[in-house]
Symmetry: C2
Subunit: 317 residues, 2 copies
């Protein structure tokens, strides 16, 4: 083994439908294992057993793995490693995942919210490297976020801070999952984009199916000159700008990093987004502010969880 090699750590991206695994070195995933489908499990214990099985298999091939990080889709207390609740996975309420995995693997384990892991990856080894003040947003079925201020991840009183997707863009708007009115996620989550786009087409007397209105389909349509699709992207950008501008007034970040599937719309989203942000902030907030796409895509959660676990383990030593 190369003496100067970067340490290896294992990142686990626990999503709503599958659990993915990657062995991470620096900013790269150097090995993966087949994902576990969560729908096959109705409770936590057998899924934990399956996760431990894959961990041990990866460790057999990569004995240098020094720490394990897990990103989970829900509220987790980072300090204790206890999962409060996973919205879309059955049987995951009040699970002390960190302690369980540490006990089973005898390795240091970190458990963190998935969007915070994405933010961690971009901050430590990605598009926001070297910046002390960052806001990261990830756009997909859900809209997640993570915040870095003064060179630290902002976690708050119970480690659940950074939920940009739940913040409101309309105080009397749509009612969301937590009774919250007008949450960004309820307007620019993948499904909401598609449903709203279909209605917008209908207003133009154009009949489209939901599958013709996915963010990917809307990108393609706009690229081919469909003006309705271009307008729809402007509407998405306007709503996202509201949350970004709010985060700027509150946090005065040096950069906003935007990732996830919807961000793949690239200039269709970023051009009107930047324009709208530029028009809505005082000069001191715009000074040097960057609006940039995330460096990592599907691997962001794995890389972030692994990086976090490695750094936490080295802090303990």
């Amino acid at each position: 083994m190369n003496q100067t090699a970067l340490p290896l750590s294992l990142g686990i991206d626990f999503g709503g439908t599958s659990v993915k695994f990657g062995v991470v070195q620096g900013h790269e995933v150097i090995a993966q294992a087949p994902a576990i489908a969560t729908e096959d499990f109705n409770e936590a214990q057998p899924l934990i057993d399956a996760i431990v099985y894959v961990i041990e298999d990866l460790r057999a091939h990569h004995p240098e793995i020094c720490a394990i990080g897990v990103g989970v889709p829900g509220f987790v207390d980072f300090e204790t490693g206890n999962i409060h609740n996973l919205t879309n996975v059955k049987g995951w309420t009040n699970i002390a995942l960190r302690d369980i995995l540490q006990d089973r693997t005898k390795l240091p384990v970190a458990v963190e919210n998935d969007a915070n892991c994405m933010a961690y990856a971009e901050w430590k080894v990605g598009a926001g490297m070297g910046k002390d003040h960052l806001v990261c947003i990830t756009l997909g079925t859900g809209v997640g976020g993570g915040i870095i201020t003064h060179g630290h991840m902002l976690r708050g009183a119970h480690s659940v801070a950074g939920e940009l997707g739940q913040t409101s863009i309309d105080y009397s708007g749509r009612e969301g999952a937590y009774g919250n009115l007008g949450s960004l996620e309820d307007y620019i989550g993948n499904n909401e984009i598609a449903a709203d786009a279909r209605q917008t087409y209908a207003k133009h007397n154009i009949d489209k199916s939901i599958t013709e209105c996915t963010p990917a389909a809307l990108s393609q349509a706009a690229a081919q000159g469909d003006q309705v699709a271009v307008e729809i992207w402007q509407g998405i950008a306007q709503k996202l700008a509201c949350t970004v501008v709010n985060a700027c007034w509150l946090l005065n970040p040096a950069a906003i990093i935007i990732g996830g599937g919807v961000a793949k719309a690239a200039h269709l989203l970023f051009d009107p987004l930047k324009d709208s942000i530029q028009k809505q902030l005082a000069p001191a907030f715009l000074n040097g502010l960057e609006i940039i796409p995330a460096q990592f895509s599907n691997d962001a959660g794995i890389i972030g969880a692994a990086t976090l676990a490695r750094e936490e383990a080295s802090n303990v030593k």
Copy 2:
């Protein structure tokens, strides 16, 4: 002089219409000087001269003053002590106030945004004492804010963070001072409350003058059983709740502290506010969350600026 006495510091509250001075010990203002009216000055230099005159007069009576803090109504770079711009005071753009005052007085000086000073007072010696995660909002002609996270004041990349009043509650709402759409201040600033209240009364076929619609007048009317006034307060609470809930999703604070003139409406504001917040957050965010009135009123800026200056001076040593 008592050997165990708390150190004295001087707090200066630089407002839109006057500059107020107080000698502070612990959480008390033990001496004051007459305020200077800013309208008498068209540029910064003569006003600075007048401020230094009052400082030296107070020091003659209280030679133990060890530091000077200034809270200013605008954007200031706390690290350098340079004022970017004061919105409502003529001639105050790019003024290196900290260096100027340090040079003239030979004392350590701190210059900070006025709402951050209010937050600092509540955090260090007021309603939020001992808490590491706080959001403070001050309601008046303008709506200001200050944020404490992880035991530090959150200042951001250019020291201008914490502007809760500029955040949007409606992505397509009223256009504010910085081109920002739907800012909280543009709905619940004193003047906006009065103007909107007058319209609400008009809808009920009740003719009221603007002076009958001030927050103080609306409080009195509601206390006397005026149901329209009660409804108006509920509307104010609903809008304020939007910004508070957003701050909770982003920052996960342990307490929200609300001060300023409008907060004097007490239960008329706090009851519907707490109710609306309770309905719009996930349990992990509501866990232990306190919504409390500020301890300090008119003196908050003086006490905060003085406390900040004293702590900064002792950190340097």
